[in-house]
């Protein structure tokens, strides 16, 4: 009946007038019944949907129209099927229109360095190691990444912070007189300060070791009289063993100023000491001046009702860590004076400015102030500033380009500031200039300098070095060689961390804390280990050029003892991460079964198949699920244990409005139901009051959770293919692994170029995926292919 109205209604607003002419007949015939101004099924009104290429939101909707028709999802199954040629013609018409519009809008929007890139760049340029990331506001994100130009904004307050950050870094480089001497210091817990603790909380043994029975808190396990006398890299050696334990004892190595505020304490890493005889742990780490070391044992416990204080440390039967000594050696300095000092002072000599009151100089925490004079300040500034600006701007800066900064120097100097102060002002301006803060990329093909910057920020997260800037990156062979060089550099670690932070959302891993009652086995070591696992796994894929299919399922995992215990895998000892082969029927392998992914896609109490399903769709399969229609409240989970979320979600199956999207979204989430919020395997849900009691102890305490309803991990893909569990789901995914490879390529290119992949990029992405498939989807090769692509080499 509706159709008649359309045909007859000359007075009506044209059916799909908004759409491009060639696409209209198809839309009129097959879409307008449901998607006109009146019906607006699913909230979509095609008659009003703008075709303006500049309207990003509308363009996105048209792409979705295209995709749903291409997938055969629309018109919906119960409606008349259009003829194949008709659909083909429509797709061609709409497709070429969308390609043209996407092409016209395409291009990275002027991309600011994000705060991590900024910090890396600043530190590398000046040869210092200051922490300025937290001084800057959090960066905006798009598509999960904080490298997307369009989403990176800048405010007045941020400009102020940039000025402050630049000053901090410049001071670190300039206010440094003598090269700090290398010192070796050893210390134990047996000092005057701890006299009262020994014999009361701690035990002193015949071999001189002090046994600590507390994990943290009181008494403090910060090593007394052990501080970095100057900022730099230090070798740390911890010697000790486990006391009254059967397994090696784990400890966290923490650094910080350990002042009364305790705001800068950082956990560096976790280590083990042997159960029976003394062992040593060697770590190299960075320490700011004045920072110290804390050795914090993990997982210690004793019988209920006992404690070291109650029983006396010599009689207490619980476990402890016997610490013999902690030594530090450093700072180990690679370059002196710092690079920034050489760049900005040239031959000018530093001399210390004595404080007004000379006694202040002896006080702890006093920061010496320096000045420097030059024989010919104006000439020196003109000699040094172009080199500094070139290094900062990542391209040659001649006298003309640097003139405004030289004038700034002159003005400061004229006002009576010394050479160092005037240079510092000019340098601050250079570090706040748009040429420093932004990656300047014109439209079209990038020249070799712009490519150098883009490549460097992609794989090392910092500015291009001299070799990269000198390379003729327009030559594919040279580009490949340089890419290979960067892949082998230690800075690749920065890439893996930043890329997985965005791709797999690992940045949010601590967004929720697992409920202590439900997950008593969760500890800091597990959190630390699960992050290392995923980063090591991706690094291994790159290192070995292993197939992207390993993201779905792999015959190995990167584990340490803590993870192996968590996953139920025997034979792994020590807390360092190493490659472990997995048996064929293992429940682990691939990225999706890793604890970090399972935690970050859940909250602290329960898992949601929808949230995990969206995670898999978006990040692994490269399908962006549309947001829920407006006005739909979330489903409130019931953790009393009465119903599972899956049962509550059964509504999705019945409602047509919900079903369309949820038959695609939910299935991966169902497969992952076999893994709990911290990535442990489960066959029953844990609940707080209802269900079967569990006879199990964790760190000496009985668990208080109960076992509720059984897990149902079966599901059905939109294609109709069924799976009974995660293993079955993985097999189905492997059959369609090209899609996973394509998704990874897309994520890499979004991260690298700082822009969204659009409709007009699809053709090239298809080619890249096909070429990658021919090479077995090796991830290292994929990165090379991404760098060689037109997408990467153009704005």
């Amino acid at each position: 009946m509706k159709q008649l109205l359309w045909l007859a209604g000359a007075g009506f607003l044209g059916a799909a007038q908004a759409a491009t002419p060639a696409a209209r007949p198809f839309l009129d015939r097959h879409c307008m019944d449901c998607h006109d101004a009146e019906m607006k099924k699913g909230g979509l009104d095609l008659s009003a949907l703008s075709t303006d290429g500049a309207d990003a939101a509308a363009l996105k909707k048209w792409v979705r129209v295209f995709d749903r028709v291409a997938a055969g999802e629309m018109p919906p199954p119960k409606k008349a099927r259009p003829a194949a040629e008709e659909t083909g013609a429509f797709m061609a018409a709409l497709g070429s229109d969308l390609t043209a519009k996407s092409e016209a809008r395409k291009g990275t929007v002027l991309r600011r360095l994000n705060r991590q890139e900024y910090q890396n760049t600043l530190n590398d340029l000046l040869g210092v190691r200051v922490s300025v990331v937290d001084m800057l506001p959090e960066d905006g994100r798009a598509h999960g990444f904080d490298t997307v130009g369009e989403a990176l904004s800048i405010s007045g307050i941020q400009m102020q912070r940039y000025m402050e950050a630049a000053e901090t870094a410049l001071n670190a480089a300039l206010m440094a007189g003598e090269k700090p001497e290398l010192r070796k210091t050893a210390a134990t817990l047996d000092t005057g300060r701890n006299k009262d603790n020994i014999g009361k909380h701690w035990l002193k043994k015949a071999d001189g070791a002090v046994v600590v029975f507390n994990e943290g808190g009181f008494p403090s396990t910060v090593i007394p009289d052990l501080r970095a006398h100057a900022t730099g890299t230090y070798k740390v050696r911890v010697t000790g063993y486990g006391h009254q334990v059967e397994e090696p004892v784990v400890f966290a190595l923490r650094t910080g100023s350990f002042n009364f505020r305790n705001t800068d304490t950082r956990t560096h890493s976790f280590h083990e000491l042997p159960a029976d005889k003394p062992g040593t742990v060697d770590v190299t780490l960075h320490l700011p001046q004045g920072h110290g070391i804390q050795v914090s044992p993990q997982g210690l416990y004793g019988p209920d009702g006992h404690s070291a204080v109650k029983d006396g440390p010599d009689k207490y039967p619980g476990s402890g860590l016997a610490l013999l000594s902690v030594e530090i050696e450093g700072p180990l300095i690679e370059e002196w004076p710092p690079r920034g000092q050489k760049l900005l002072l040239g031959d000018a000599k530093l001399r210390e400015v004595m404080p007004e009151k000379p006694w202040m100089r002896g006080k702890a925490g006093y920061k010496p102030v320096f000045t420097a004079d030059s024989a010919d300040p104006a000439a020196e500034a003109r000699r040094l500033l172009p080199a500094f600006a070139s290094a900062a701007f990542r391209r040659p800066a001649d006298a003309a380009a640097v003139e405004p900064y030289v004038r700034l120097f002159d003005a400061e100097f004229a006002e009576g500031k010394d050479f160092l102060a005037a240079m510092r002002t000019a340098a601050t301006a250079i570090l706040c200039a748009p040429d420093f803060l932004f990656l300047k990329e014109p439209s079209g093909a990038l020249d070799r300098l712009q490519l150098a910057s883009r490549l460097s920020y992609f794989l090392t997260r910092g500015a291009p070095d001299a070799e990269l800037l000198a390379a003729d990156l327009a030559q594919p062979a040279v580009l490949r060689a340089q890419t290979e060089r960067l892949l082998q550099s230690p800075a690749l670690e920065r890439f893996v961390t930043d890329f997985t932070d965005g791709w797999l959302n690992l940045r949010e891993i601590e967004f929720t804390t697992p409920d202590k009652q439900l997950y008593p086995e969760y500890d800091e070591l597990l959190l630390d280990s699960m992050l290392r696992e995923t980063r090591a796994f991706i690094t291994e894929l790159i290192r070995g050029n292993l197939s992207a299919a390993n993201v779905i399922h792999s015959d190995f995992a990167m584990l340490n003892a803590r993870l192996a215990r968590h996953y139920g895998i025997p034979g792994v000892s020590g807390q360092h991460i190493r490659k472990v082969p997995l048996p064929p029927e293992s429940r682990r392998g691939g990225v999706l079964t890793q604890a970090s992914i399972l935690k970050v896609s859940a909250n602290g109490t329960n898992t949601s198949p929808v949230v995990r399903g969206v995670f898999v769709m978006d990040r692994i399969l490269g399908i962006e699920p549309p947001p829920p229609p407006p006005g739909i409240p979330g489903v409130e989970p019931d953790i009393r244990g009465a119903t599972t979320l899956r049962e509550l979600l059964d509504k999705h199956r019945d409602s047509e409005t919900c079903n369309g999207c949820h038959r695609v979204i939910d299935p991966p989430g169902f497969a992952l139901e076999s893994y709990d919020v911290i990535g442990g395997w489960r066959e029953r849900f844990r609940s707080i009051d209802q269900g079967e009691k569990v006879d199990l102890k964790v760190t000496g305490r009985k668990v208080r959770y109960r076992l509720g309803p059984p897990v149902d991990a079966a599901g059905e893909l939109p294609t109709g293919a069924k799976f009974a569990d995660m293993g079955g789901f993985q097999k189905l995914l492997l059959a369609g692994q090209d899609r996973v490879a394509r998704c990874l390529l897309e994520k890499l290119l979004t991260f690298a170029t700082g822009r969204e992949m659009g409709f007009s990029d699809r053709a090239e992405l298809d080619q890249l995926t096909a070429a990658s498939q021919a090479k077995g989807h090796g991830v290292r090769e994929m990165i090379h292919a991404a760098v060689q692509s037109g997408i990467f080499r153009r704005k």
Binding site: A57, S153, I157, Q158, M159, M163, K440, P630, G634, I639
Partner: protein, 428 residues
Amino acid sequence: MNIATKRHLDRRAFLRGTGAVLSLPMLEAMLPAFATRAQAAAGTPPPRFLAMCATLGFHTPYLFPKETGADYTLTPYLEPLRDLRSDFSVISGLNHEQQNGANGHTSEMTWLTAAKHPGLAGFKNTISIDQLIAERIGTQTRFPSLILGTGSESLSWSASGVPLPAESSPSRAFQQLFVDGTPAEVAAQVRALKRGRSILDTVMGQAKKLRGELGHRDQEKLDEYFSAVRDLEGRLVQNEEWAQRPKPKVDAKPPTDIQSRTDAIGKMRLMQDLVVLALQTDSTRTVTMRLSGMNAVPEIPGVKNDWHNLSHHGQDPAKIEELKVIELAEFTAFADFLAKLKQTREGGRPLLDSTAVLFGSNLGNASSHSTANLPLVLAGGGFKHGRHLAIEKDKHVFSNLFVSLAQRMGVETDRFGHSTGVLEINQA
């Protein structure tokens, strides 16, 4: 509502006119419109605005009274406010529209902006109400606004949709507000500010050059940089003037920051005390405070579980009862704060009368992440209070309240966010 007209001299015009050096002290003629000597004598203090958001929600069955109007029974969360009954109104039935966003908590980004779909693709936030107010009247005080929070994030967003960081250290804020530098320090400060302006002049010139080399979309992005530099420049100029003006004297000791990460109520109270001082000394007239929940156990007697966990109670009655302890503590602190504002006099009148305080949350139900029917309490500001205002469905949106609050602060506008009208409290 009175919309004040600017009767004072425009400072920039004055300075341009005289060609004077910027180190002149503020002349009487330049005292702000709302507080000229004459007006102060007549007893008309300037209006103030304060917004506080508790990001983990409030369990509304314990807040909203069953009855509407003036004769309502106090609910558990309103019990601490029983002595201040005529100084506040409970408002139910308001929300922003289309707040489903990137995750269940992103609505805290838009509580003061009303922008839609926070965090989803293509999202760009808009200016928050406090910054809009600060833009219009901020130059009248040493600090155009005070952005506070118990964490590093704030409720406030700039005009270009950029998030503004929060000050989370009351001791640092106190320092900035009330502690004068020595003459040498002041001189050094002025020199440093002038140096800052020279740096900005230099980079601005470079940005202008760069702009000419860019395509249209990149130019738009660079314009953000221009705005940022200009904004900072303006602030440096202002700061230079203020640097030479002595700071107000307060009869209070500098606060000591709370070390414990989990003493949320302690932090809230300390911050509120600071706000009283800031408003009392007219250091600022618009304040926001983000009261962050946490993924940890807050230090409140009787609370043993993670706060975030409790707020997502999943209808577990034990969790709801424990959550109540936390939220009641928040409301108790709030009540004490209002009492303090009421006791503090200004020209014979309670400070509370000139200060509109909006207290609530971006979540109507934290357990289901619902942003409908937001918990809101409006206090002070000279409004007619003592009622439970239940706004009928579809009659008003939350933005409508912001329009009237902005107008009261001297912003000449009849729209804010996605307002569909104006919600006048006195006439509702």
